[in-house]
């Protein structure tokens, strides 16, 4: 455990009774005394506070001073339309490689004179090097080490944050603005990883504990660990990088076509021009051979990551594999996502997962598994 890093909220987690585990090189809270199930339910019913400071924060500052130049530069690395992203708005994006695989997923916000990116903890050093290698001619790449990242998620997040600054209430889904919270300038977006309304807050390290404590003072806010974070995002149908998407999965296979705007596809004004465009645009035109789908097991036994999937209850070669699976406290049953051959990918298709040597029935199901509650 000696080389594990700690976020600035480490002492607060310990004081709150968290069970700390290694995660992406950090000591992170997997659960608090409330427990995974109740933490999940609390987030859906009220509001949950998550420390996500292990994630990478980086600024792309255009040398020209024109944020459009940073947007054009970033578009050479992502199959996503960044140029029209208005000031104060945020968008989901993917880094791709030459083979058309996904090297990370990220959020990109236009903050006026620069772009602000939030990337996954396990990928951040590779992402920073990637940005430096490809974009340093046009942009200064400023890795942010002096800010924490806190997510406040759930239907009561609005009330809790608006009490610290009423401007929070006015924000819409995927807005990204600066505001003062608990005496410090924070960068706040109305977004998250739970399928609920909520916020992600980049706060100066020196103020982060104070801000978290101020939010936890609300009766409606409980601290939530990585365990519930995983079941919340799974019910919301959101990908976990490294499980559900990775360098071997393309955006089309992953069902993330919505993240590749028409303008970047064949026939669009800024079509292609990103790594792996040949494969990815080819899959838009001709389809992919497999697809990420939602899976609802018929029984109560969870089909976890690695469970092999079959078309029949007996014999035959696997048609795919589960990439994430757990028990969903809100849907009150097991749920999974995974990749299946394209002819088994339609909603309602009956498939079988092999659990402890037995083929168990399951159904391909649409995602999210329950309606999301974003403030559009």
């Amino acid at each position: 455990m000696t080389d594990l890093k700690r976020t600035v909220l480490f002492d607060l987690h310990v004081a709150l009774g968290a069970k700390m585990v290694p995660f992406a090189g950090y000591e992170m809270p997997v659960q608090y005394p409330l427990g995974v199930m109740k933490e999940h339910q609390h987030t859906r019913a009220a509001a949950g506070l998550f420390d996500v400071s292990h994630m990478g924060q980086v600024i792309l500052r255009p040398k020209s001073g024109d944020v459009a130049d940073a947007a054009r530069a970033l578009e050479t690395l992502v199959p996503v339309s960044i140029l029209p992203l208005a000031e104060g708005r945020q968008r989901y994006a993917l880094f791709t490689n030459e083979e058309g695989g996904i090297t990370d997923d990220l959020m990109v916000a236009n903050r006026g004179d620069h772009l602000f990116l939030v990337v996954n903890a396990a990928c951040k050093n590779a992402d920073f090097a990637h940005l430096e290698a490809h974009l340093s001619d046009t942009c200064d790449i400023e890795v942010i080490e002096d800010r924490a990242l806190i997510a406040l998620q759930g239907p009561a997040a609005d009330v809790a944050l608006a009490e610290l600054n009423p401007a929070a209430h006015e924000m819409k889904f995927m807005d990204s603005v600066s505001m003062e919270l608990a005496g410090a300038e924070c960068w706040v977006s109305r977004s998250g990883y739970t399928g609920e309304d909520g916020y992600e807050i980049s706060a100066p390290n020196a103020s982060a504990t104070h801000l978290a404590e101020a939010l936890l003072l609300h009766a409606v806010v409980e601290p939530i660990g990585l365990g519930a974070r995983d079941s919340l995002r799974l019910e919301a149908g959101l990908c976990l990088y490294g499980n559900d998407i990775d360098t071997t999965t393309s955006p089309v296979e992953a069902g993330l076509e919505w993240a590749v705007q028409k303008v970047r596809r064949t026939g669009g004004d800024r079509a292609g021009g990103f790594p792996g465009a040949d494969r990815i645009l080819g899959e838009f035109d001709n389809g992919a051979s497999r697809r990420r789908v939602g899976i609802l097991p018929a029984g109560r036994a969870p089909m976890r990551e690695g469970t092999e999937l079959f078309a029949t209850d007996n014999g035959g070669a696997p048609i795919g594999k589960v990439t994430s699976g757990a028990f969903g406290p809100s849907i009150k049953g097991p749920l999974s996502m995974g990749y299946v051959a394209i002819d088994s990918a339609a909603d309602g298709t009956q498939i079988f997962g092999e659990v402890r040597g037995k083929r168990m029935a399951a159904t391909v199901a649409p995602m999210p598994f329950r309606p999301s509650n974003y403030k559009r």
């Binding site: 995974v36 199930m37 365990g227 079941s231 036994a301 969870p302 976890r304 028990f327 406290p329």
Partner: protein
């Protein structure tokens, strides 16, 4: 009541031995979401895998603590697996064994010894 290093408890009730997991084990496992029970009538030997439980974290096998025959299982756990967390040594029992030779239980830990074991 007797306890094993596998964090099971055994309690003699009339002519059968009732088996479950300890409160300590249920706390460590976290919220239990699924319990798969053996068929009544199955003959089991010590260390056979007899029950599968899944918590929000992972799957675990429960081993037979002693030779015997399964004479009853706690069907209520199938629909209500959280009973294991709520009342591990009561309503959260898992199965009842008919045991010919209970002498192996003499070697198992008492409650005080088990508490020392997990301390």
């Amino acid at each position: 009541m007797k306890f094993t290093e596998e964090h099971e408890w055994l309690r003699v009730e009339d002519d059968v031995v009732v088996v479950g997991i300890t409160e300590h084990a249920s706390t460590q496992l976290g919220d239990i979401v699924f319990v798969e029970l053996p068929d009544v009538g199955t003959t089991v030997a010590k260390d056979d895998e007899v029950v599968v439980i899944e918590s929000v974290k992972a799957a675990s096998d429960i081993l037979a603590p002693i030779d015997g025959e399964i004479v009853e299982v706690n069907e209520a756990l199938v629909d209500n697996p959280t009973k294991v967390n709520e009342d591990a040594t009561g309503d959260g029992w898992m199965f009842k064994l008919k045991v010919e030779d209970r002498s192996a239980m003499d070697e198992m830990m008492s409650e005080a010894e088990y508490n020392k074991f997990i301390a």
